[in-house]
Symmetry: C2
Subunit: 239 residues, 2 copies
């Protein structure tokens, strides 16, 4: 693939790239040719054939052009979570994490290039951490609202949000390190299922000490643990 | 409490403060009086009565003086984890997280001051995120080594490290928001127990589909779910 085609971001669609897309393409072409630190905003606008003001209309800083789609994705995630007041909460945040994956898989070559760049430039690494933090807080905020009134509601919310982000990023980064080869969706599904197995019933408050009666559960030895726990919760009246 | 006594960092011990402690004290006194952005390194060294070179011998930048003990704590954590090759892995990382808590509870007034400062200054927030990330990677690295060869070993390691950090920080930040009042150790223990209940057996690989025999578990209805799950895992041969 050529670096310029890979750098078009969302511009894989047919048609003339927008000015925003042209700026991203010019920026990545220069970052790859000269290095990130050696490229100025003036270099980028000169290559794109636009003025500095156009650049700053789309991107507050040079760092922001490296992550052109995160603001949109954060807004999408926030809206998606706000519309999910009736869903099972852990399921909903897992689906929210899949929106981030989609942003990466929309354009694998661009995502892989950016991943390599981010490994090399400490400032971009810090920027990425702050973006990941905002995704995590969006999920935690949703879960806190859903768990309001439950014992340890904010604790559960924060832990589950962190676990979902870590699982998503584990699978995403494996895929990026493999140059975008392989099935990212399947890897992320598998990783998120791991979290769901651990926390799928976290929304359910533990019962207080009740009558001393006895519950008997019968299970096949080979059954997946999460499924047995699900049965167990139902039997204990917590499902 | 006076701001200067609170700002001494580790200098609560009897005796003359070291130059490093004097720099931290001077810096926090100025940050509180003038604001972080309005305070220069020159202001700090003037108040402490030392030269600029002394400052930069201890702190690479103005940001570093806000977090004077994290490098020591990261080194302590790394050594602690390296010495724990025989412990139950999740237990070990929970104990590693308690080392961070100890750094905060050594001097509650200083920790509360810093927390407030960090809320106000975006640059310090970003610095803190990068520090938290390094703690998380230290724990994840330890768990990855312990889970080497297990199915989904790196996934489990990353998710558990993130969950431990989130649980620790949930309890720590509640304590900081309450001005350092209350029992931080008990709050963190409770939060970490939540993670241990979810992941305590994560080191154990799931059994592959085995003989179709049946396991019967009998439980009191009032028993805590995590305890029942523990029994269940033992019965299923995964404990």
């Amino acid at each position: 693939m050529s670096s310029s085609s890979a750098a078009v971001g969302r511009g894989e669609k047919a048609g003339k790239p927008t000015m925003r897309e042209a700026l991203v393409a010019a920026a990545f072409r220069l970052f790859l040719e000269r290095g990130y630190e050696q490229t100025t905003v003036d270099d980028i606008v000169a290559l794109a054939g636009v003025g500095r003001r156009s650049f700053f209309r789309y991107f507050p800083s040079k760092e922001d052009v490296v992550f052109p789609d995160h603001e949109r994705c954060l807004a999408d995630m926030t809206a998606f979570l706000a519309a999910g007041a009736d869903d099972e909460p852990v399921h909903r945040v897992c689906d929210a994490a899949r929106l981030v994956l989609l942003m990466y898989t929309e354009n694998p070559a661009f995502s892989v290039q950016r991943y390599r760049l981010t490994r090399q430039v400490p400032g971009l690494r810090a920027y990425e951490l702050s973006v990941v933090w905002r995704y995590e807080r969006a999920m935690a905020g949703y879960l806190r609202a859903r768990f309001a009134g439950l014992r340890d509601g904010t604790l559960r919310a924060d832990v589950i949000a962190a676990a979902v982000v870590a699982a998503h990023n584990n699978a995403l980064r494996s895929w990026l390190r493999a140059d975008g080869k392989g099935d990212a969706e399947a890897a992320v599904d598998h990783a998120l299922e791991h979290v769901r197995a651990a926390f799928g019933s976290a929304a359910v408050p533990p019962v207080t000490e009740g009558p001393d009666d006895v519950v008997v559960i019968v299970s096949r030895r080979g059954a997946p643990l999460w499924r047995v726990v699900q049965e167990l919760e139902t039997a204990l009246g917590r499902g």
